[in-house]
Symmetry: C2
Subunit: 99 residues, 2 copies
DNA sequence: TTTCAAAATAGTTATATTGCAATATAGAAC
DNA sequence: GTTCTATATTGCAATATAACTATTTTGAAA
Protein backbone atom coordinates (compact mmCIF):
# COMPACT_ATOMS: atom_id res chain seq x y z
CA UNK A 1 0.00 0.00 0.00
CA UNK A 2 1.41 3.27 -1.10
CA UNK A 3 1.02 6.57 0.70
CA UNK A 4 -1.19 9.15 -0.98
CA UNK A 5 0.77 11.73 -2.94
CA UNK A 6 -0.48 15.25 -2.45
CA UNK A 7 2.38 17.55 -3.18
CA UNK A 8 1.97 21.22 -2.43
CA UNK A 9 1.13 22.85 -5.75
CA UNK A 10 3.67 25.07 -7.46
CA UNK A 11 1.47 28.17 -7.28
CA UNK A 12 1.48 27.93 -3.51
CA UNK A 13 5.21 27.32 -3.40
CA UNK A 14 5.83 30.31 -5.65
CA UNK A 15 3.66 32.47 -3.46
CA UNK A 16 5.11 31.45 -0.12
CA UNK A 17 8.77 30.92 -0.99
CA UNK A 18 9.56 34.65 -1.21
CA UNK A 19 8.09 35.26 2.22
CA UNK A 20 10.31 32.63 3.75
CA UNK A 21 13.31 33.69 1.71
CA UNK A 22 12.94 37.30 2.80
CA UNK A 23 12.54 36.23 6.39
CA UNK A 24 15.59 33.97 6.40
CA UNK A 25 18.08 36.75 7.07
CA UNK A 26 20.00 37.09 10.33
CA UNK A 27 18.83 40.56 11.27
CA UNK A 28 15.27 39.95 10.18
CA UNK A 29 15.12 36.73 12.14
CA UNK A 30 16.47 38.58 15.13
CA UNK A 31 13.74 41.17 14.76
CA UNK A 32 11.09 38.46 14.67
CA UNK A 33 12.59 36.60 17.60
CA UNK A 34 12.66 39.80 19.58
CA UNK A 35 9.09 40.76 18.77
CA UNK A 36 7.87 37.25 19.51
CA UNK A 37 9.57 37.39 22.87
CA UNK A 38 8.21 40.78 23.74
CA UNK A 39 4.71 39.70 22.85
CA UNK A 40 3.69 43.24 22.15
CA UNK A 41 4.24 45.89 19.49
CA UNK A 42 7.67 47.56 19.83
CA UNK A 43 8.97 50.82 18.48
CA UNK A 44 11.93 51.09 16.13
CA UNK A 45 14.37 52.42 18.70
CA UNK A 46 13.69 49.44 20.87
CA UNK A 47 14.16 47.05 17.95
CA UNK A 48 17.36 48.80 16.91
CA UNK A 49 18.78 48.15 20.37
CA UNK A 50 17.87 44.49 20.19
CA UNK A 51 19.59 44.16 16.83
CA UNK A 52 22.70 46.16 17.55
CA UNK A 53 22.66 47.52 14.04
CA UNK A 54 22.33 51.02 12.63
CA UNK A 55 18.88 52.56 12.57
CA UNK A 56 18.92 52.76 8.77
CA UNK A 57 19.67 49.09 8.36
CA UNK A 58 17.02 48.01 10.82
CA UNK A 59 14.51 50.30 9.19
CA UNK A 60 15.23 48.69 5.84
CA UNK A 61 14.72 45.22 7.27
CA UNK A 62 11.45 46.28 8.88
CA UNK A 63 10.22 47.52 5.56
CA UNK A 64 11.09 44.26 3.85
CA UNK A 65 9.23 42.28 6.50
CA UNK A 66 6.29 44.64 6.21
CA UNK A 67 6.27 44.33 2.42
CA UNK A 68 6.12 40.56 2.82
CA UNK A 69 3.15 40.85 5.14
CA UNK A 70 5.08 39.49 8.08
CA UNK A 71 4.92 42.68 10.15
CA UNK A 72 2.52 45.54 10.52
CA UNK A 73 3.33 49.07 11.59
CA UNK A 74 1.29 51.54 13.58
CA UNK A 75 2.35 55.07 14.20
CA UNK A 76 1.75 56.63 17.61
CA UNK A 77 2.84 60.21 17.47
CA UNK A 78 6.56 60.28 17.07
CA UNK A 79 7.07 56.56 17.08
CA UNK A 80 6.22 53.59 14.93
CA UNK A 81 5.32 50.31 16.57
CA UNK A 82 5.82 47.02 14.79
CA UNK A 83 4.18 43.72 15.47
CA UNK A 84 4.15 40.26 13.93
CA UNK A 85 1.00 39.58 11.94
CA UNK A 86 2.05 36.46 10.07
CA UNK A 87 2.57 34.12 12.96
CA UNK A 88 3.38 31.19 10.70
CA UNK A 89 6.84 32.51 10.04
CA UNK A 90 7.57 32.20 13.72
CA UNK A 91 7.74 28.47 13.05
CA UNK A 92 11.06 29.23 11.38
CA UNK A 93 12.41 30.24 14.74
CA UNK A 94 11.29 26.94 16.26
CA UNK A 95 12.91 25.22 13.33
CA UNK A 96 16.17 27.02 14.11
CA UNK A 97 16.04 26.31 17.81
CA UNK A 98 15.80 22.60 17.09
CA UNK A 99 18.78 22.62 14.75
CA UNK B 1 6.41 39.06 36.15
CA UNK B 2 8.22 39.26 32.85
CA UNK B 3 8.97 36.35 30.57
CA UNK B 4 12.62 35.29 30.34
CA UNK B 5 14.37 36.70 27.27
CA UNK B 6 16.61 34.22 25.55
CA UNK B 7 16.95 35.33 21.97
CA UNK B 8 18.66 33.03 19.52
CA UNK B 9 22.22 34.29 19.22
CA UNK B 10 23.34 36.00 16.03
CA UNK B 11 25.99 33.37 15.26
CA UNK B 12 23.30 30.73 15.09
CA UNK B 13 21.06 32.93 12.96
CA UNK B 14 23.92 33.65 10.58
CA UNK B 15 24.69 29.97 10.29
CA UNK B 16 21.15 28.73 9.74
CA UNK B 17 19.65 31.58 7.71
CA UNK B 18 21.46 30.63 4.48
CA UNK B 19 20.18 27.05 4.71
CA UNK B 20 16.62 28.27 4.96
CA UNK B 21 17.12 30.95 2.34
CA UNK B 22 18.53 28.44 -0.14
CA UNK B 23 15.69 26.06 0.59
CA UNK B 24 12.95 28.66 0.15
CA UNK B 25 12.77 28.38 -3.63
CA UNK B 26 9.79 26.92 -5.47
CA UNK B 27 11.60 24.13 -7.30
CA UNK B 28 13.76 23.24 -4.32
CA UNK B 29 10.74 23.08 -2.06
CA UNK B 30 9.03 20.89 -4.59
CA UNK B 31 12.03 18.56 -4.60
CA UNK B 32 11.93 18.32 -0.83
CA UNK B 33 8.20 17.81 -0.74
CA UNK B 34 8.51 15.07 -3.31
CA UNK B 35 11.35 13.28 -1.51
CA UNK B 36 9.55 13.58 1.80
CA UNK B 37 6.49 11.99 0.25
CA UNK B 38 8.41 9.17 -1.38
CA UNK B 39 10.12 8.36 1.87
CA UNK B 40 13.03 6.84 0.03
CA UNK B 41 16.00 7.94 -2.05
CA UNK B 42 14.99 8.89 -5.60
CA UNK B 43 17.01 9.21 -8.75
CA UNK B 44 17.32 12.41 -10.74
CA UNK B 45 15.07 11.34 -13.60
CA UNK B 46 12.31 10.65 -11.14
CA UNK B 47 12.81 14.01 -9.46
CA UNK B 48 12.89 15.80 -12.81
CA UNK B 49 9.47 14.35 -13.62
CA UNK B 50 8.07 15.50 -10.32
CA UNK B 51 9.35 19.01 -10.91
CA UNK B 52 8.40 19.36 -14.56
CA UNK B 53 11.54 21.32 -15.20
CA UNK B 54 14.54 20.70 -17.41
CA UNK B 55 17.13 18.22 -16.20
CA UNK B 56 19.80 20.92 -16.06
CA UNK B 57 17.73 23.15 -13.81
CA UNK B 58 16.79 20.36 -11.46
CA UNK B 59 20.38 19.20 -11.29
CA UNK B 60 21.42 22.71 -10.30
CA UNK B 61 18.83 22.84 -7.55
CA UNK B 62 19.91 19.44 -6.26
CA UNK B 63 23.47 20.66 -6.02
CA UNK B 64 22.44 23.73 -4.07
CA UNK B 65 20.48 21.61 -1.61
CA UNK B 66 23.40 19.22 -1.31
CA UNK B 67 25.83 22.09 -0.72
CA UNK B 68 23.59 23.29 2.08
CA UNK B 69 23.62 19.87 3.68
CA UNK B 70 19.92 19.36 3.09
CA UNK B 71 20.32 16.43 0.70
CA UNK B 72 22.79 13.65 0.20
CA UNK B 73 23.56 11.85 -3.05
CA UNK B 74 24.53 8.25 -3.63
CA UNK B 75 25.49 6.88 -6.97
CA UNK B 76 24.31 3.43 -8.02
CA UNK B 77 25.78 2.62 -11.37
CA UNK B 78 24.30 4.95 -13.87
CA UNK B 79 22.01 6.76 -11.53
CA UNK B 80 22.29 9.10 -8.60
CA UNK B 81 19.84 8.80 -5.73
CA UNK B 82 19.06 11.75 -3.52
CA UNK B 83 17.59 11.73 -0.05
CA UNK B 84 16.81 14.30 2.61
CA UNK B 85 19.33 14.31 5.43
CA UNK B 86 18.41 17.53 7.17
CA UNK B 87 14.92 16.73 8.29
CA UNK B 88 14.52 20.01 10.07
CA UNK B 89 13.97 21.85 6.82
CA UNK B 90 10.92 19.71 6.22
CA UNK B 91 9.30 21.85 8.89
CA UNK B 92 9.21 24.56 6.24
CA UNK B 93 6.78 22.43 4.29
CA UNK B 94 4.52 22.10 7.31
CA UNK B 95 4.81 25.83 7.73
CA UNK B 96 3.66 26.28 4.13
CA UNK B 97 0.80 23.81 4.40
CA UNK B 98 -0.60 25.78 7.32
CA UNK B 99 -0.44 29.11 5.49
C1' DT C 1 8.54 78.67 13.06
C1' DT C 2 12.68 76.57 14.65
C1' DT C 3 14.46 72.64 16.70
C1' DC C 4 14.83 67.97 18.05
C1' DA C 5 14.15 63.00 18.10
C1' DA C 6 12.26 59.06 15.56
C1' DA C 7 11.92 56.74 11.50
C1' DA C 8 12.10 56.24 6.40
C1' DT C 9 14.12 56.74 1.96
C1' DA C 10 17.57 57.48 -1.74
C1' DG C 11 21.73 56.58 -3.97
C1' DT C 12 25.57 53.76 -4.60
C1' DT C 13 28.59 49.83 -5.02
C1' DA C 14 29.47 45.05 -4.41
C1' DT C 15 27.87 40.62 -4.58
C1' DA C 16 24.53 36.74 -5.24
C1' DT C 17 20.99 34.38 -7.62
C1' DT C 18 18.30 33.05 -11.52
C1' DG C 19 17.26 30.70 -15.88
C1' DC C 20 18.90 28.97 -19.84
C1' DA C 21 21.68 26.82 -23.55
C1' DA C 22 25.57 24.33 -24.51
C1' DT C 23 28.83 21.11 -23.20
C1' DA C 24 31.01 17.62 -20.34
C1' DT C 25 31.36 13.48 -17.52
C1' DA C 26 30.25 8.77 -15.76
C1' DG C 27 28.86 4.31 -16.18
C1' DA C 28 26.47 0.50 -18.84
C1' DA C 29 25.85 -1.98 -22.89
C1' DC C 30 27.34 -3.31 -27.17
C1' DG D 1 36.72 1.18 -28.36
C1' DT D 2 31.72 3.43 -29.64
C1' DT D 3 27.27 4.48 -28.29
C1' DC D 4 23.58 5.37 -25.19
C1' DT D 5 21.47 7.02 -20.99
C1' DA D 6 21.83 9.52 -16.75
C1' DT D 7 23.64 13.32 -14.50
C1' DA D 8 26.69 17.39 -13.79
C1' DT D 9 28.98 21.57 -15.05
C1' DT D 10 30.01 25.90 -17.39
C1' DG D 11 29.27 30.39 -19.14
C1' DC D 12 26.18 34.06 -19.81
C1' DA D 13 22.94 37.89 -19.24
C1' DA D 14 19.35 39.53 -16.40
C1' DT D 15 17.85 40.50 -12.06
C1' DA D 16 17.85 40.71 -7.07
C1' DT D 17 19.94 41.50 -2.64
C1' DA D 18 23.20 43.50 0.71
C1' DA D 19 25.48 46.98 3.20
C1' DC D 20 26.51 51.59 3.87
C1' DT D 21 26.25 56.78 3.84
C1' DA D 22 23.79 60.67 3.37
C1' DT D 23 19.51 62.86 3.26
C1' DT D 24 14.57 63.44 4.11
C1' DT D 25 10.24 63.16 6.36
C1' DT D 26 7.30 63.11 10.41
C1' DG D 27 5.45 64.66 14.52
C1' DA D 28 6.28 66.84 19.11
C1' DA D 29 7.90 70.42 21.76
C1' DA D 30 10.02 74.87 22.55
Amino acid sequence: MKTEHTLIDMETLERIAPVIRHTAHPIRLRILDFLANEQMPCNVTHIVEACQQSQAIVSQQLRILKDQGVLEAKRHGNQVYYQVVNHNVLLLLDCIRRH
